[in-house]
């Protein structure tokens, strides 16, 4: 947790100082993309070799769908309250 936060803060500081060097920023964006592709490919590899997970894939998918619907419906319902209470009157 502390590792994660400090690495990210360090990144934000470095990013702030290179913000005017467009080439570096562009390279950074590409690197992020390929790092994500690589990590998810590796995740795929280790999942495919895991028989327990492969057998339960449909169940995992259904759980994911339920959690997504819960998260989206929960946040848009609360968003309606926030909108009516704090934003609508200012339009």
């Amino acid at each position: 947790m502390i590792t994660v936060v400090s690495i990210m803060v360090l990144g934000i500081i470095v990013g702030y100082f290179i913000r005017n060097r467009r080439l570096l920023v562009k390279i950074n964006d590409k690197l992020i993309m390929w790092a994500i592709y690589l990590l998810l490919f590796i995740l795929g590899l280790s999942i495919g070799a895991n028989e327990v997970i492969m057998k339960n894939l449909p169940t995992l998918g259904l759980k994911a769908l339920a959690l997504t619907l819960g998260g989206v419906i929960g946040s848009i319902s609360l968003a309606w309250l926030t909108y009516v209470r704090f934003f609508k009157s200012k339009e």
Binding site: M1, F17, R19, N28, G74, S77, A79
Partner: protein, 201 residues
């Protein structure tokens, strides 16, 4: 949408290649992939720091804008808690960890996989990809029935990039800054909240 399909493609390719034993599943040692994760987190930080829009969005600051990421975080927590109460075989911790991806599927699924559980990592990947896709498809309807903040909250961390165009279309240009600010805040908070939840007993 295209980006999330490419990512799912890489994941599926890896899955099939090792399932049919074309490439061994333990090709890369676990400790290397956690270094790769740290490297990714650093790069994401650099991306946020270098984003001129991030600081401009902060300048248009007023107190109400702060409520929007808070709404998403609280609303998602309530929603997934209800799901936890309804469906069997799901712990509250797992439900909250998946919910706290707020659509940021790549980072949240990788953190969960590396530090907690592979199968929950798969759930997080699928759930958060679905969140982005639902927002892309339903933003206009969501804005119509739940108000102009709702598509932003539905988009979660993606409201700063992939879902920003459709949100701007559904809620109007005046909400672009709110959407941008919201996405940036959540992008920074996703790794923090997810690892915080996973570190709780």
């Amino acid at each position: 949408m295209k980006g999330s399909l490419i990512i799912l493609g890489f994941f599926t390719a890896g899955l099939l290649l090792s399932f049919y034993k074309i490439i061994p599943g333990d090709l890369i040692k676990e400790e290397y992939s956690s270094y790769a994760l740290y490297f990714l987190m650093f790069l994401v930080g650099v991306g946020v720091g270098a984003d001129a829009k991030a600081f401009q969005a902060l300048k248009g600051f007023n107190l109400c804008i702060l409520l929007v990421p808070f709404t998403t975080i609280l609303g998602t927590a309530i929603g997934v808690t209800i799901v936890y109460l309804i469906i069997p075989d799901l712990s509250l911790k797992d439900a909250q960890a998946v919910g706290s991806g707020y659509g940021y599927y790549s980072l949240s699924s990788i953190i969960i996989t590396e530090t907690y559980s592979k199968s929950l990592g798969v759930v997080a990947l699928l759930a958060n990809v679905m969140r982005e896709i639902i927002t892309l498809l339903a933003a206009p309807l969501i804005a119509l029935y739940f108000g102009k903040i709702a598509p932003i909250c539905s988009g979660g961390a993606t409201s700063m990039d992939t879902t920003l165009p459709i949100i701007t279309k559904a809620s109007g240009k005046e909400y672009a800054i709110v959407s941008l600010f919201h996405g940036i805040v959540l992008t920074i908070l996703v790794p923090i909240i997810v690892s915080l939840i996973l570190s709780l007993g």
